[in-house]
Subunit: 329 residues, 2 copies
């Protein structure tokens, strides 16, 4: 008999999430049926998307959704053997019974020297988001200039590093001097702290006086209003996230985008990484190779203790993390 | 010695254009030099883009810019013979001396029964805008549903008719019952008068309860805010015009677009027809063929008299025209 601890959405978030919106529960898991697998979480992911998804896909009382790296404790599905590690969508829970359909095995070639937590970050969903968003939505060509905001986040840092590998000029913004220093180490060409520059407009102009071909947007809102004015003709805007908007109680407004979009013939596309599910292997293989070769560096912001998941989540929403925010059980 | 009448931008428009912003002048044209052509306007175009372009490309005292169909009165360029008709970018002028570079001949196959004014509309720039915007930006597939606003305008009516030819379900909005009736005659599947429906949202839902795959946007602003919510997953938005915004004294605001763009993975692209200049022949050939076969119908709103150009322009901005607004000298 296994007892799982899990974090429940006690109350739908209003504005910025609060500790009291979450509740820690214990539940007893039923015995395994044929085709089922018993999992024990090793690492759990906290990601920005969980904030808007909670509103769309969850009701009060549901376990918080999300990915985890888990160990197979018991298995009645021959695909998954005891002791193997999988990526599971079990949500914020220490243990889970899974039907095996929403699982994927960590590559058997996973190098012994790499933490399995990377399967939630640079060699996982955020890495794939960067990989496909850059190639398929930004369609960045060598020699082009790309702007990335939240550049020290789980997705942004990978976008910038791949863009460098592909011959781009990479401009990144982040919200602390420590993050800015980190991005310079990663090889970004131009980096600034958007919280301390006097004028975002001037900082963007200084970083790339001729404007931007590509904009990988994780932030949205006023930041994007200002970037729009500095896009080059035929620029591409990949709308990956809108973290500036997730915690608004009511939708905010900004200048209409149509006129600059027409006169500069811009293309703005929103996307979710799930659209490339059929090409996941290609992406993971490339990311794993780059990481092994040291061409893509990674940094994780690890919070210890399952009981600290809400704090890790809220901290990530505040931008406390450099690199991927992960909880280690 | 030829004297030309021309309409000058006397004062930059502030808000909606006024008659006093224009001035009629007479100028004496110089004798032709080698490589030059003397033109006499037959039809002049008034188009929405002139409003925003005036701010970007003109200074006070300049002749209003625009296309015209003109007759060659005299020629020192062997490409253009006396009596032939050309499309010229001479602007709002009765006569002009042209270097020949900004001219294009009307197709020699132009059918005798078609008014040459169509070379400013359905078989001209607006028709090409519809043709390429639909195929290259909306990328509409057979069976998909497309929404077109300002659907009775020069571009919108052609978009809808081509979309029908390509197997789409076509929903059009216009601003008068007369226009709505016209669009029904053209074969649009669903049409409504956006000024008299109680709720635009409800009218859009009624016209296509399952939402919209494509949105050919000539209007922008609040109209687009409401449409955005009714786009289907992976919908494409072709931003062709923003007539609701051209006459604003200051930029207006609307809800940020990023969140719906991400969650529905929408693609929004602004465009100018000039990007397909190299494919102009292809487009004009297709449009001319459809018109000759009766598969695309046309309607023109003709204002007589060069002296009425400002009135024709302002009327078009108010939506007085059904089909292409043209001035006949």
């Amino acid at each position: 008999m296994v007892r799982a601890k899990c974090w429940i959405l006690k109350k739908h978030f209003e504005g910025f999430p609060k500790q009291s919106d979450f509740e820690l529960k214990e539940v007893e898991l039923p015995p395994l049926k044929d085709g089922e697998v018993l999992l024990e979480a090793a690492f759990l992911s906290v990601d920005p998307y969980m904030r808007p998804y909670s509103r769309v896909y969850m009701k009060e009382g549901d376990t918080m959704l999300g990915y985890q790296v888990a160990k197979v404790l018991e298995s009645k599905d021959p695909t998954y053997r005891v002791g193997e590690f999988v990526i599971s969508q079990s949500g914020w829970t220490t243990h889970a019974v899974s039907k095996g359909k929403d699982l994927s095995l960590l590559p058997s070639s996973w190098p012994g020297n790499l933490s399995r937590s990377l399967a939630l970050g640079t060699i996982g969903m955020p890495g794939l988001t960067a990989y496909f968003g850059l190639s398929e939505i930004c369609r960045m060509k060598p020699g082009e200039t790309i702007l990335i905001n939240a550049a020290a986040g789980a997705v942004g840092n990978v976008v910038g590093q791949i863009a460098k590998l592909k011959g781009g000029k990479v401009v990144g913004c982040a919200g602390s001097d420590e993050k800015v220093a980190h991005l310079k180490e990663l090889g970004f060409d131009e980096v600034f702290n958007y919280k301390t520059v006097g004028s975002l407009e001037e900082a963007l102009k200084k970083a790339s006086p001729e404007g931007y071909d590509c904009y990988f947007d994780n932030v949205g809102g006023e930041f994007s209003d200002i970037v729009l004015e500095q896009m080059k003709k035929f620029g591409r805007i990949a709308v990956c996230g809108a973290i500036s908007q997730y915690n608004n109680a009511a939708p905010k407004k900004g200048p209409y985008v149509q006129m600059p979009m027409i006169f500069k013939e811009l293309c703005m596309e929103g996307f979710l990484v799930t659209r490339w599910d059929s090409r996941k292997e290609e992406g993971l293989k490339a990311l794993l190779k780059w990481v092994e070769e040291g061409k893509i560096k990674y940094h994780e912001h690890i919070t210890k203790g399952f009981e600290n998941m809400p704090a890790a989540f809220m901290g990530m929403l505040k931008g406390e993390n450099t690199g991927k925010a992960v909880v280690k059980v």
